[in-house]
Symmetry: C2
Subunit: 350 residues, 2 copies
């Protein structure tokens, strides 16, 4: 029998973290009497006087959110990381290792209106979000080794407030994922004298099997090693290293690309498509300021949980937690569906 | 200022996989208007004629589930892994690495009644489950490198059928987590000439800060590096390497320990506490039959998602997916709450 990737279980290697993913095509046909997600429709009011992220509303700590008109950034009232914190004592027991963690957590509202999301905002409004990301990154990257910009969208993805917003957590240390990536990208560069993701984009563009969107500055691809059902990477084609080295044009093209991708996501299951997304680029802070970043390529990653419909998600549980990542359709199947779905006109506007 | 672990953000190392966990005490106080879980009450009927896991019901593929009286094991109708599958072609491109995956997926019903769970079954009935695990393991471990016994409990944990059951996925290869553990345990043994988890249990028993249950054969501890809010490890105190080397007494004590732990879990938030749990021990199959397993200690891991109540869970999203594991209360706080909650009398019986 001939091996056919869309039929036969197999493993694929994620070269960014060195881990294998188990690919099990056709598992999506099994019966489902498990949890049903509530489809997220945009039934929110434009303004909710009880929502602290809305302009003019007073937050629980007594501070009033200003009457902002585009984006608005403030320090998280319940920060996971804080700047001034005592250093834990050293331990020489390998089983009880503890290390310092300093940082900073900010919340960034995308828009004054609660009932918008990135795909229903205009490209010009998204460009303002990108500009704000960059000015935050400029400030925070001077001080911190890692600035994690990320958006949790939708209740299914643990978003605790429905107003369109993202978060920025800055760390005095390199967290696990960027640390692994740093090592793997560096090793690839040492051997190939090319950034791994530049090579990867080139080969994906030749193969055209997993490309979702391509334009002059950006490529969106379902990675060969994708874990989440409709996971994508949005990769710079211009050898950008960090979000703050984008030109004005690259930024505007990024806004268009993000709008197209998130419109496709919403149109796929006719719902406000939940996901976690975030940016990865070369590490920062005094520690990395003088290190080479030649091995890096700026990219965003989208981790959306939905599997079969607006109400059936993929659970990363049991086998996935205890053994390894596992997916139920091939990356090629996911890419084809994302390629075919409309990326120009949002289903709410039809 | 003096460092206080229950107040100040810090990182802790998981020596079993080499990854750091960010510990952010006091984050549980933030307001929550995100997703609410449905509390899982045992309102199921004893028998549901439409549920293929119930005795006597015909499955979608036409096979009838027998009138079983204790446990019942069958091949998954939608297996992620199958025994006979073509081998993918070799690739020498490091960015497109693909590898074979053979295996086997079984479903194991714990009990004929749909409205029971492990904590509401008797210890004698749990002992029957353990015996069945062992006989399955005996058969499958002869052939496969890794036999993953795991239970997804509750819709919140992706369980697609509410009848009490677990799954057994066997693999022709060592998956990511066991592979990492294998390497780390081996390295520790090479340096210390003791199994890492034997040393760990000894020190936890001295410290008594994170112990939840201890008896002659077993210890339940919230690991120093726990990721999930009320994560626990159930560790053998008898230098067991695999589940099939337990004595009859150790098995019966295990049934009592599992009943006590899961009763505590249910009593914590007065609900049928969701979790994923599974067993880890020395690898198996022809490949590992002659390798030393001296560095291993048999243990189970429980990953329960609930954070603050029956309806508010911890989401592993955004920062956690993109950067690193993060928890919102200390392992010591979780252990204290689990220690204090009743482990003998289930809240439904009060
Ligand atoms: O096999 P089930 O119970 O239908 O499915 C459940 O467990 C599997 C193994 O952990 C996961 O891959 C699925 O995402 C989950 O829904
Ligand atoms: O900060 P939020 O939005 O309240 O919380 C959300 O994002 C955080 C960062 O990814 C996670 O730690 C939380 O589990 C999630 O609910």
């Amino acid at each position: 029998m001939q091996f056919v990737a869309s039929e036969h279980p197999h493993r694929r290697l994620n070269p960014l973290n060195g881990q294998w993913v188990l690919v099990c095509p056709h598992r999506t046909q099994r019966p489902w009497s498990g949890q049903q997600e509530k489809a997220q429709k945009n039934e929110l009011p434009e303004f909710d006087p009880t929502n602290p992220l809305c302009p003019g509303v007073t937050r629980p700590n007594g501070i009033q959110t200003p009457e902002y008109e585009s984006t608005y950034v403030f320090e998280n009232d319940f920060p996971a990381l804080v700047e001034i914190v005592p250093v834990p004592p050293n331990s020489d027991d390998p089983l009880f290792q503890i290390a310092p963690a300093r940082g900073n957590c900010r919340v960034m509202c995308f828009h004054p209106k609660s009932n918008l999301t990135l795909p229903t905002m205009s490209a010009a409004e998204i460009a303002v979000v990108i500009d704000e990301w960059i000015s935050q990154f400029n400030e925070l990257s001077a001080k911190y080794a890692w600035v994690q910009i990320f958006e949790n969208k939708g209740a299914t993805m643990g978003c605790s407030n429905p107003h369109p917003h993202c978060q920025i957590w800055s760390c005095s240390f390199l967290p696990t994922e960027p640390q692994l990536k740093q090592e793997r990208l560096r090793a690839y560069y040492a051997t190939n004298e090319r950034p791994m993701l530049a090579d990867y984009v080139e080969r994906e563009l030749q193969r055209q099997e997993r490309i979702v969107i391509e334009n002059r500055d950006w490529v969106v691809v379902v990675p060969f090693w994708a874990t989440w059902p409709f996971e994508t990477m949005l990769i710079s084609r211009n050898n950008n290293k960090r979000i703050n080295d984008l030109t004005t044009e690259q930024r505007y093209n990024l806004a268009l690309t993000m709008k197209e991708l998130t419109t496709k996501y919403d149109n796929l299951f006719h719902c406000s498509f939940p996901y976690s997304m975030g940016w990865h680029g070369a590490p920062t802070g005094p520690e990395h300021a003088h290190a080479s970043s030649a091995h890096w390529t700026l990219h965003a990653i989208y981790y959306p949980p939905l599997l079969r419909s607006a109400s059936v998600r993929k659970f990363m549980v049991g086998f996935e937690l205890l053994a390894m990542a596992q997916r139920d359709l091939t990356p090629e199947q996911a890419a084809q569906r994302l390629r075919e779905v409309d990326g120009k006109c949002h289903y709410l506007q039809k």
